[in-house]
Amino acid sequence: MAWTHYIIVGFAFASLFFVLAAFALYWAYRNGQLNELEDGAKTIFDDEEPMGQVTDQFPSKKDETSSTKKNHE
């Protein structure tokens, strides 16, 4: 293929990609993903692993109890 073909194909690909990205952003907007962002930040917490609780620590550390531990004393 001549280099001009690459430019044309590359341009087509790049345009397609750009359209996809624009569509994704549009979808996110229409879907309400960009509203109430502050609530979104909390979606990773739930009853099993709630907010305000540290969920990882070194195994069998002496000074820790096995119960839940609050961040801020």
Partner: protein, 260 residues
């Protein structure tokens, strides 16, 4: 309770509580807010801090700089402009650069010739002829171009010593490369030939005439056209039938190199 109201993320600054409550504040939110406040005392308010202003300023500066840089260092966005310092709108100097034929010739020589003729040009006695101070190299350049284009085979005699080997053709090299490498071996001091330059035009002319030939040349064939190879050839006393009109480009210094 008043304390927790201050920490309350709803409503965000700048919105009146009334409208906010009407439109968006539901029991669900109230419940969430309180439960999270009970669990954690100082978490929420930080959660809504905007980007520090200094970064907004920094991003502005970056965008500004980028625009200027892109316009100023892009060689006028030409597809063949490699010099980023060319200023927009300035005429690009695209006159061809002067090529140092000796430097080009040295490179072509080291890439193509050293395998047989060796890097010092002295060849291997009895196998590959030397190129240093020999009659062939000092003879008619047209003949050398023919050898370069189609190769050379069969018994030959160089400076009186016999050789019987074959030289591969180098027709794939460009006119300029062939001219450069011949100029290099004919005029560079280390080859002691003290002859004169070969021009790409001469190569082009010979290529047009003989370029389609695939059999290697032989010494008798060449001598038939150019006369005996003695090294004593020059444009002025040329013994070839065709060189009178085409070798005027040869330098005046050719005259001095007759005797060797």
């Amino acid at each position: 309770m008043s304390d927790s109201q201050n920490n309350n993320p709803y409503p965000p600054d700048g919105k009146s509580r009334d409208t906010y409550e009407k439109t968006r504040f539901e029991d669900k939110h109230l419940h969430e807010v309180h439960s999270s406040l009970l669990r954690e005392k100082e978490e929420p308010s930080e959660n809504f801090s905007p980007m520090p202003l200094i970064f907004v300023g920094l991003f502005m500066v970056l965008a500004f700089w980028s625009g200027i840089y892109l316009v100023w260092y892009s060689g006028d966005f030409g597809p063949f402009h490699y010099d980023e310092t060319a200023k927009p709108g300035e005429a690009i100097d695209d006159t061809p650069r002067e090529v140092d034929m000796l430097a080009l010739g040295r490179r072509v020589y080291s890439q193509n010739c050293v395998a047989c003729h060796q890097s010092n040009g002295r060849g291997i006695s009895g196998v590959y002829p030397s190129l240093v101070n020999v009659d062939w190299v000092q003879d008619n350049p047209e003949m050398l171009v023919k050898v370069m284009l189609s190769g050379l085979a069969g018994p030959i005699e160089v400076n009186g010593s016999p050789y019987n080997n074959a030289m591969t053709p180098f027709g794939r090299l460009s006119d300029q490369q062939i001219a450069a490498v011949l100029t290099f071996i004919r005029t560079d001091d280390s080859f002691e030939n003290d002859s004169y330059e070969v021009t790409p035009e001469l190569v082009a002319e010979v290529r047009e005439q003989y370029g389609s030939r695939t059999d290697p040349w032989t010494q008798p064939e060449l001598e038939e056209i150019h006369g005996p190879i003695t090294g004593g050839w020059s444009p002025s006393n040329g013994n070839s039938s065709s060189n009178d009109e085409n070798d005027d480009s040869g330098d005046g210094e050719a005259a001095e190199t007759e005797e060797s």
